[in-house]
């Protein structure tokens, strides 16, 4: 096992880089990070479109959400891989292909999370904000979204964790992310699939677990911040009693 790690650790981490293209765990992390960073704003926009009073915004996005939700990610990857080049006229590299598939897929799911988050708020919140004279978009930004995002946080993290795991489907289009590299190593070593795939599994687990823990910490901080006066005004003992219970 030690020999295995000694021989292949660099390959596992970065692929053939710097002699060849970047791959391995580094590529997986880059893909997941880029996917999250792009899918979140897109999902937010899609979610706003889903609750928009404007039909021209609501209908196309609703259609997209239903199509994506009724399709395995693998299909979306195939579409991006085979269909996109015929649309644009030139071949897209595997990283970009996978990234596009991930962003579209996750944005559709995030849109539903955003929609549910906004619609879970009492109708009076929008009415109160509009009654003060704030516009629809300002009411969304200043009143509804700050509340909705807080409530959405657990679901968002869920989706982010999924995204990390979904990068492994890049395997199918020959993207040299960490699962692909692991199978390459397995082909070369041939005798130690258990150790190799256990290492791969542990790697995914650590990334997902780390993200979950980070999110819990964030959640706790947010719930503390939403009632700081409990700490500043009441006595110290009662603020201790009000401290959020860790999950």
């Amino acid at each position: 096992m030690l020999e295995l790690i000694d021989t292949y650790w660099l390959y596992f981490l970065v692929g053939q880089y710097p002699k060849g293209p970047l791959g391995g765990l580094a590529l997986t992390v880059a893909l997941a990070a880029a996917g999250l960073l792009l899918a979140l704003p897109l999902g937010l926009l899609f979610g706003l479109a889903r609750v928009s009073p404007v039909r021209a915004l609501r209908w196309p996005v609703t259609a997209l959400v239903f199509v994506v939700r009724g399709t395995p990610l693998l299909m979306v990857v195939f579409w991006a891989y085979f269909f996109l080049p015929s649309l644009t006229g030139h071949k897209t590299d595997q990283f970009t292909t996978m990234l596009i598939a991930l962003v579209v897929f996750d944005a559709a799911y995030l849109a539903e999370i955003v929609r549910a988050g906004i619609q879970s708020l009492p109708r009076g919140q929008m009415e109160a904000s509009r009654s003060l004279g704030l516009s629809y978009l300002r009411s969304m930004r200043l009143v509804l979204l700050p509340q909705a995002l807080r409530a959405m946080l657990p679901s968002l993290v869920n989706q982010f964790v999924s995204t990390i795991k979904e990068t492994s489907l890049g395997y199918i289009i020959g993207l040299n992310e960490v699962a692909f590299i692991a199978s390459q190593i397995n082909t070369q070593v041939f005798t130690k699939p258990t150790q190799i795939y256990a290492t791969l599994g542990l790697t995914y687990f650590l990334m997902c677990f780390g993200l979950s823990r980070l999110a819990y910490a964030l959640e706790r901080r947010l719930s503390r911040r939403s009632r700081p006066s409990a700490i500043s005004e009441e006595s110290a003992s009662s603020s201790a009693a009000l401290a959020p219970v860790s999950p």
Partner: protein, 245 residues
């Protein structure tokens, strides 16, 4: 001044407001009462376009507020609205609830908005709760903050949609007291309420509604002592002695 001109509203097939024809002068406190489902909340919600109307016109200071081109945000910023369910923003402190709109819409600097908000919270007796969040406040306190929030836009007109109906009985008084103070200061107010004591004491006139129509309009002494319409007579006797019928 508020003028309703032949205002009609339907919810689907349900005729919620029927030929409303009413003039409410500036500086008056008008109490709208009537049985539930009579259209009083709908009426007050048409005044800042929370509900659309299907025909007729509503003029506030001569401006047709339901006119298609009207800047709804602009005129709403001149009308304070207080809800039955308070609708404070739970993610903001009492103070921030009162500074949000003035900062964004009236262009106040943070320090100015803060000072004004503290003044208003003082006025509703809650300066000491400025940094509390809505979930930490009692219903009566929340409603008083909601009034301060509405006043922070310095509206010449305040609308109250059953402001005490969601409150525990012992908290009704504190909210009515704040409203009484406003009335004394000359604020134009339209108040939908079941608090007949408030109507009797504070209102300049009472509108009685039933089934989408205004059946009676009178000074409170007149309305409570000599109601004209049989429906109003029945309503008043019902709320006075709920067990006698």
């Amino acid at each position: 001044m508020i003028q309703f001109e032949k205002v009609n509203k339907w919810f689907g097939a349900y005729h919620a407001l029927v030929d409303i024809e009413e003039t409410l002068p500036q500086g008056e406190v008008v109490v709208v009462c009537g049985p539930s489902g009579s259209g009083k909340s709908t009426l007050i919600r048409t005044l800042n376009r929370l509900e659309p109307i299907q025909s007729g016109r509503i003029l506030i200071d001569g401006q047709d507020i339901h006119a298609p081109g009207r800047d709804v945000n602009q005129f709403r910023s001149h009308i304070g609205f207080v809800f039955q369910q308070f609708n404070l923003f739970p993610h903001l402190s009492a103070l921030d609830n009162c500074t949000l709109a003035p900062q964004r819409l009236r262009g106040l600097r943070p320090a100015e908005a803060r000072a004004q908000a503290l003044d208003l919270l003082e006025r509703v007796g809650l300066a000491h709760k400025a940094h509390a969040f809505p979930p930490e406040l009692s219903g009566g306190q929340q409603q008083r903050v909601a009034i301060a929030r509405a006043l922070a836009m310095q509206p010449p007109l305040m609308l109250f949609d059953e402001p005490t109906s969601a409150l525990d009985p012992e908290m009704v008084g504190e909210v009515l007291l704040v409203m009484k103070g406003l009335a004394r200061d000359g604020m134009t107010m339209v108040v939908v309420t079941h608090e007949m004591g408030f109507a009797r004491e504070v209102a300049d006139r009472v509108l009685f509604m039933d089934a989408g129509r205004v059946l009676e309009r009178a000074a409170p002494s007149e309305f409570f002592n000599h109601p004209q319409h049989p429906r109003a007579q029945q309503f008043l006797s019902d709320i006075r002695s709920p067990f006698s019928a």
